[in-house]
Each structure stands twice: as C-alpha cells, then as structure tokens.
C-alpha cells in the first residue's frame, strides 16, 4: 500500500520549487532549520527538568547491585518511577503539540492512510523522545556512579538491559497512553495518576504487613499485569522463558492506544494550534507543495476538483465521531444572547430604547475608574486567572497532611529494610508530584506570551504594563508561598500529633520516637521539607531561565538587553547550574543529612531575583524597541 505522501513525488515537487523559485526554497530551508533547532532546544530543556524530577529522589535503580534477590522488586519500583517519568514525558511530547492532521481530513485520502501517516509520525516522535531519554539517562547513571559510594554495577549487562527495557517500555507505553484521556484535562491526569498508583502500592504494602501470604513487594515483576514491561525486564535481567503474556499484553495495548490516538489527533481543532504566519516564503513553498499534492491525489483518484471531498469516504471504518459532528453542523446555530431586550436576530434593527441602553452602557464603561496599574479596567482582563485563596489553603492543608503521613509511615517498617526504603521512595515521588503540579511550573511563557501579543497593538505605556505584570507576578508568588507555608504549617502539628498518639498508645516504632531524635533523623521532617522546597525553587527557576534563554539566545535577542541584563543573565544561570549540581550530586549520593546542600539554598532566591529583573528588562525592551513577531 502506498504511503499517504509519495516521497518520490514530494522530492520531485521540491526539486521543481528549488529550480523555479530558489529564493523561496532557501528561505524555506533556513526557516525549517531554525524551527528544528528551536524544537530540539525546547526538548532538551524539558527533558532536563523531567529527568531531574523523576530520577532525583534516590532512584532505586542505583541499588540494583546490592542484592540479586531484590532484583525483581527493584525493577518493579524502578518501573513505577519511570512510569511516572514516562507519563510526564508523554505529556510533554504529545500534550502541547498535536499531530497536524486537519489538512489531511480535508484531502481525499482514506482513513487508513491517515492512520498510517499518523503512525509514522508517532514512530518518529517516539524515536526522538527515546533518543533524548537515553541521552540523559546514561550521563545520569555515570554521575550516580561517580558522585557517591553507591554500588552500581555498570558492567552488568543484564542489569543495564533490564533498565533499558523498563525505560523504553514505560516511556513508549505512556507516550501512547496519554492521548487516551483526551476528554480529561491532561494536567489532571498527570497530577492524579502517578499518586494514585503510588497510593495503590502503599496500600498493597500495608496489607502485606497484616496478610503475609500476599505476594511480595516484587509484585510488579512477578504477578500483576499492571506493568507487563516489568516482567519483560525481569526476563531480560534473569533470563529464562520469554513471558509471552506480557509481550502480547504490550502489543495489544499498543494497537489499542494507536486507535485511540487517531481519534484524539483528528479531534484537535485548528484553534488549539499555535498561530502560524502565512505570509512567509516557507509557507508559500509549502502551499505550492500542498497544492500539487492535492492535484496529484485528485488525478490519481480520477476525481474532478468538484468532487475532491467525498464525505462517504470519511464515514467508513466506524467513524462515528465524524457522524456526530456532521449531525451537529446540520443544526441551526442559535444567536448568542446576553441582554434580555436585545434583538433576537443579528439582522433585526434595534429599538430606540435598546440603543439608548447601549449608549448608557458605553458611557458607564468610559466612566469606570482606571485600575491601580493605570490601565482601563477592561484591560485588567488580560490577567490569567489565579486560584482563590481558600482553594490554595485547602490544597495546602491536604498536601501538609500527606507530607506528615509520608514521613510517619516508614517508621513502622524495619529500619534499613527494603519495604521501608521503597515506601520512602514512593512517598517522595508522591509528595513531589503533589507539590509540583497544582502550581504549574514548566511553562511560564505560556502565561506571558499571549498577553504581550494582545497588548502589542494597543498604545499602552510600557511602564504601566511592566507594573501590571509585576503586580500579577507578586500575587502568584504570594499564593505559591502561601501554599508551601500552609503545607508546612499543617504538616508540623500533624507530625507531632502522630508522635503524641504513639507515645500515649505505646505503639512500637522502629524509627525515631522522641521529637529530638525525630528532627535529627535521617529522613527528618525539616530536612525533607527543606529539600523539597529547594527542589521546587530549583525547578521553578529552571523554567524561568529556560524561558529567558528561549527569548534571548534562541531568537538572537540578547543584543537587545542592556549590558547589566546580560551580566545578570550569566550570573543567574551560573548560580542555578551550581546549585542544581550540588543538589543533584547530594541527591544521587542519597546523603540527605549532609549539610553541604544547604550551601545551595541562598543561591535560589538570589537567582530568582536576578531572573525576575531580567524578565522585567525583557518586557521593557520588547515594549519599546522589540519586534513583537516572536
């Protein structure tokens, strides 16, 4: 069967464009190269953050060399962690951008060919993603070996193969699974699924303490079909007969997910896609290619142009969604109506009374007070919505309670035991995910860019705009720190409540019992919270700096900054890199009690100040002399 795009024909058309319009062709190539480079840099930055997030909290993979008997359990837990990472990775890869199939929908191509085309795109995206995963995974493993006294048999081929399978399998599965939940906000899925899986694991482990006959903690690799790739990795690591059930399960899931993916990508509306500039040579060249392709399709199908779209062709293969959409289109749209006495139809002339009322409404808007930032009150609607304080505090209380449970729970298990260690790791991942995702940290530019685009064509004082931005940013910061402070203020009394209950009830506890020992313990509350806060700040800063770099280096705008701004950019970047390295090395070495990481803490607020100043400079520069077409 022919591919949707005949590569030979495309090459011929490209050669024709190159011959007849070399300027357009060169411009198109340079534009494509710039876009490719931009995409690659974005991917690298995102993967840096993701891998730090998923692998930073003492990944059990690095303990694989400790005891061969714990291999299945370690593989299973590694798989769980990597599933979380894979989910995030899939979210990043598939979530923000979608495969552009809208033009294909309007072309006379069969649904099957579109499926194949999308499969090909998925394959390419997956290959790119996995390449980046390995690119960052290998240095991570080497750093883990170099940074601490962690036993890690780097030469053990079987272990590496197992880790590789877990890595690839999890990422691939979740990359493809994410679009399944298209009707649910993806952010919600990311925030809910991994913690839910972690809670399930915790419940299972707790149940085993009461019912020892239940399967061992290595359940992920032994019994359950929950993660079949764990079985595969066990097979890789320990040999033996190939687990065909796991293999077929993975294959079936893949097919199912691809079918779901097709429905997902087809449903994407053009409004979701980033705004494209059509008046560019690249777009012109692409339009020529598309036109020739379309003509070729028509000729190859023997259809005149008036029959270019054959609706019945789209309704084949159980394509019920299109039928539903077609049914919706047939219904007449009702005119939007907000004012009761407004005319029912747009074409109806308004009554004199309503005309008077409209004039009064306009006069009312004109006489409204200006906002504190010196902008019309209507302009204040640029502000992205902020969560209510009550919601922030409720969330903080929940997270605080969760924190205290996570720090309380491991003490009920044997010190140094694998179960305790696994619970600690799962708990850390759970806490990090819960702390991160309600606040949105990875796309600060998503908040700023649309606003700037809208303000671009209004004659607004740049100082007013900067002031408004900073006031909004301050409100965000207040809520964020309120969220953290609320979590800590809830966690501390709940922890002491646990201690009190244990003391009164005389419950045996293998960990620290007294408050003093509790605080100075290996996984003590203050240490844990400080580490988490440091990491949160670090990731937040990472996103901001990535944003600043994206605007400056990538678009060649550094020259627009004043010299002081460039120096501050360099200082903040260096400070961030140093602090990230310290935290990373300490984290990989699992030496939480080592106070060296405290050195990194003061650098975070300093860097944040630098970066905020930098952002303000950027806004001012763009407002006064910059090119808004970014």
């Amino acid at each position: 069967m022919k591919e949707l795009y005949d590569q030979k024909l495309v090459r011929k058309l490209a050669a024709a464009v190159r011959e007849h319009s070399p300027d357009d062709w060169l411009a198109s190539r340079s534009m494509r190269r710039a876009l490719l480079w931009q995409k690659a840099v974005q991917c690298l930055l995102i993967f840096c953050g993701l891998w730090m997030l998923t692998l930073f909290p003492n990944l059990p993979v690095i303990e694989l060399g400790k005891a061969k008997t714990e291999l299945p359990g370690a593989y299973g837990l590694s798989a769980l962690l990597l599933v979380s990472g894979g989910l995030l990775l899939g979210f990043v890869l598939v979530g923000p951008k979608t495969f552009e199939v809208t033009p294909l929908i309007h072309m006379p191509a069969s649904l099957r060919k579109i499926y194949l085309h999308v499969l090909d795109r998925v394959r390419k995206e997956t290959r790119e993603g996995l390449g980046l995963v390995l690119l960052f995974g290998v240095p991570l493993a080497l750093t883990a070996r170099l940074a601490g006294e962690v036993p890690f048999s780097i030469t053990d081929a079987a272990q590496l193969a197992g880790v590789g399978v877990v890595l690839v399998g999890s990422c691939l599965a979740w990359l493809l699974l994410v679009p399944l939940f298209t009707r649910v906000p993806r952010l919600g899925m990311v925030a809910v699924l991994p913690p839910a899986a972690s809670v399930a694991v915790l419940v299972w482990l707790l149940a085993r303490t009461k019912f020892p006959s239940l399967p061992s903690p290595a359940f992920l690799g032994e019994a359950l079909m929950f993660l079949p790739q764990a079985k595969l990795c066990e097979w890789f690591g320990q040999g033996g007969p190939m687990p065909l059930d796991a293999f077929f399960y993975c294959a079936a899931m893949l097919v199912f997910v691809l079918l779901a993916l097709m429905h997902h990508v087809r449903d994407q509306q053009p409004e979701d896609l980033p705004e494209m500039t059509l008046d560019t040579p690249a777009a012109t060249a692409e339009a020529m290619l598309a036109m020739h392709l379309r003509e070729w399709r028509m000729h190859s199908k023997g259809m005149p142009s008036s029959h270019a779209i054959a609706p019945e062709e789209w309704l084949e293969e159980g394509d019920y969604l299109l039928k539903e959409e077609a049914g919706q289109d047939e219904e007449e749209e009702e005119p939007l109506q907000a004012c009761e006495d407004a005319p029912q139809e747009h074409a109806t002339l308004v009554t004199p009374e309503f005309r008077q009322r409209m004039a009064a409404m306009v006069r009312g808007h004109l006489e409204e007070k200006w906002s504190p930032e010196g902008l019309p009150s209507q302009l204040a609607s640029w502000e992205p919505p902020l969560p209510e304080w009550s919601r922030v505090l409720r969330l903080a209380a929940l997270v605080g309670a969760l924190l205290s449970v996570v720090f309380e729970l491991p003490g009920y298990f044997e010190t140094g035991g694998s179960v305790r260690h696994h619970i600690e790791n799962i708990g850390l991942v759970l806490v990090i995910l819960t702390l991160f995702f309600p606040i949105g940290w990875w796309q600060p530019d998503a908040v700023w860019l649309p606003v700037m685009r809208r303000l671009g064509w209004l004659p607004v004082e740049s100082q007013d705009t900067v002031s408004a931005f900073l006031r909004w940013d301050l409100r965000v910061l207040r809520r964020r720190f309120g969220y953290y402070a609320g979590a800590i203020l809830t966690a501390v009394p709940v922890c002491f409540l646990f201690i009190l209950i244990r003391s009164v009830a005389g419950i045996s506890y293998s960990g620290a019992v007294t408050p003093g020992r509790f605080i100075t313990g290996e996984y003590s509350l203050p240490n844990g919270i400080m580490i988490l806060l440091g990491m949160l700040l670090g990731f937040r800063l990472f996103g901001i700096v990535a944003f600043a770099f994206k605007w400056t280096c990538l678009f060649g705008k550094v020259r627009l900054l004043p010299v002081v701004g460039q120096i501050l950019l360099i200082i903040s970047s260096v400070a961030l890199i140093i602090t990230a390295c310290i935290c990373f090395c300490v984290g990989v070495a699992a030496d939480w009690a080592n106070p060296i990481w405290l050195v990194a803490l003061p650098a975070f607020p300093a860097s944040e100040l630098c970066v905020r100043w930098l952002l303000r400079s950027l806004v001012t520069v763009y407002r006064t002399s910059g090119d808004w077409k970014i």
Binding site: L336, T348, L366, P376, W457, R623, S625, D627, W628
Partner: protein, 245 residues
C-alpha cells in the same frame, strides 16, 4: 479633497525589513496624504502585512523610518501611535470582554472619549449587527463577529490613519463589508483620514481606492487608481504577476 482643515502626511522613508533567509521590504519609500484610500496589493508573502506591522510599530524596520507629519514614529511615541490604528486580519481581543467593553477600552486608550461618542457606538453596533451580542464575551464570537467588533472600535476611535489587514477576507458578511466601505469612504472624504488596507481582490481594490500600492520583489510601487491605470491598464497585472528573481 474634502472640506477638512488639516491634512495628515504619512511618509515611509527607505524602509528595509528582513526575516531569516528572506528580504521582505527593500528600500520602500512612499508618501500618503490625508483624504486618500490606499489599497495594498501583492502576492502571498510579498510583505503586505509586514509593511502594515512596520507602520503600526508592531515590527521594527531594519533601517529607514516612518514619519507622521515629519515626526519619526517609534513604539515609544504614544502620542503618535494614538493617531493611527491597525486592525490585523485576526483581531486579538480579550476573551472575557463584551463588544461594548472592547470599544470602550479602545476609546480610553486612544483618548477618544469625546462627548456623544456613546451614541456613535450604538449606531455602529446597530449597523454592524452586533447589538444583539452585547454582554456576550468575544471568546464566543465567530471570526466575522470579532472583526466587526474590532472595526466598530476603530470607527468609534476614528484615528487619523486607519490600517486594515484583509478587510474583504475577514469573515464579515456583506452588511459588515458595506458598513466598512461607507465608514472608510466617509472618514477619508469628510474627515481627511488615511485609509490603508491590504487585499488580494484586485477588482475590489480598483473600485475602492484612490491609490493602488503594489508590493513586488520587496519594492513598493504606488499607482494612481484613475490616472495611471486608465493610461496603462496592464501595468497592474504586470506588477502583480512579476516573477521573483
């Protein structure tokens, strides 16, 4: 020439603008005076929108400048920017505002809150058939309704230079296009405004413009719609179909 007292002068002085890999505007020089309607024609990618963006300070020319009555127009000159308005082909409006709020915001930012302007807004809303949408957020609007709302804001503000990107392909219905033509003609003839719009519809442009400005190979050629085109009717076609080198 109309009965207005003051004639605005817009001067494009050797404007150059490049994007990576392509030089869009090359030494563009032109002069437009108040009271004229200018249609901007050119192939896709020729630089029509880029020129309008440079005129509205959304883009900065690599070299050259735009002058209004002899003063250089820059992004920081809010006083000059309030004398012009640019309507892109996809107006980017604040999603949660309704048409009257959008118009009121423009009136305030352009400092055009003259007495009785609210009746003018009501009249425009009625003629453009967006009166029934009062109170509805613009996020629910179709493209044509958005464009009508933005155009109502422009006509209410009534700046000295009106710049519109593809008004005839903006999604407006015939009624909306009719109002645009009436308002633009009245603004130019009666109040001495400069109307500058881009379009791909040559016949429409020839019938609704005093001057035809063609961008080809990055260079701007301004033709007089009556004199030049009557003398050499094929000139416009030659400019529009010229191949790139």
């Amino acid at each position: 020439m109309g009965p207005y007292l003051f004639v605005m002068l817009l001067w494009l002085n050797s404007i150059n603008k490049s994007y990576p890999g392509s030089r869009v505007l090359q030494d563009v020089t032109a002069e437009f005076e108040g009271g004229c309607i200018v249609a901007l024609l050119g192939a896709n990618g020729a630089g029509k929108t880029t020129l309008l963006r440079c005129l509205s300070t959304l883009s900065t020319p690599d070299s050259g400048d735009v002058r209004m009555d002899g003063e250089i127009l820059t992004r920081g000159r809010l006083d000059l920017r309030r004398r012009l308005m640019f309507l892109p082909d996809f107006p980017d409006l604040f999603a949660d505002t309704d048409p009257l709020e959008v118009i009121a915001m423009h009136l305030r930012l352009w400092q055009a809150e003259r007495p009785g302007v609210e009746h003018r807004v009501a009249d425009l809303a009625d003629r453009l058939q967006i009166a029934s949408l009062c109170g509805v957020p613009v996020s629910n609007f179709s493209r044509g309704q958005r464009y009508k709302t933005a155009f109502a804001a422009m006509a209410s503000v009534d700046p000295e230079v009106w710049m519109l990107d593809e008004p005839f392909a903006s999604g407006m219905d015939p009624q909306g296009i009719g109002v645009f033509r009436e308002e633009a003609a009245a603004a130019a003839r009666e109040r001495g405004r400069i109307i500058l719009y881009s379009t791909q519809m040559v016949e429409l442009a020839c019938g609704f413009a005093d001057k035809i400005a063609v961008i080809s190979r990055g260079q701007l050629t301004v033709l007089d719609a009556e004199a030049d085109l009557q003398r050499d009717p094929r000139k416009l076609e030659q400019l529009l179909t010229a191949r790139r080198r």
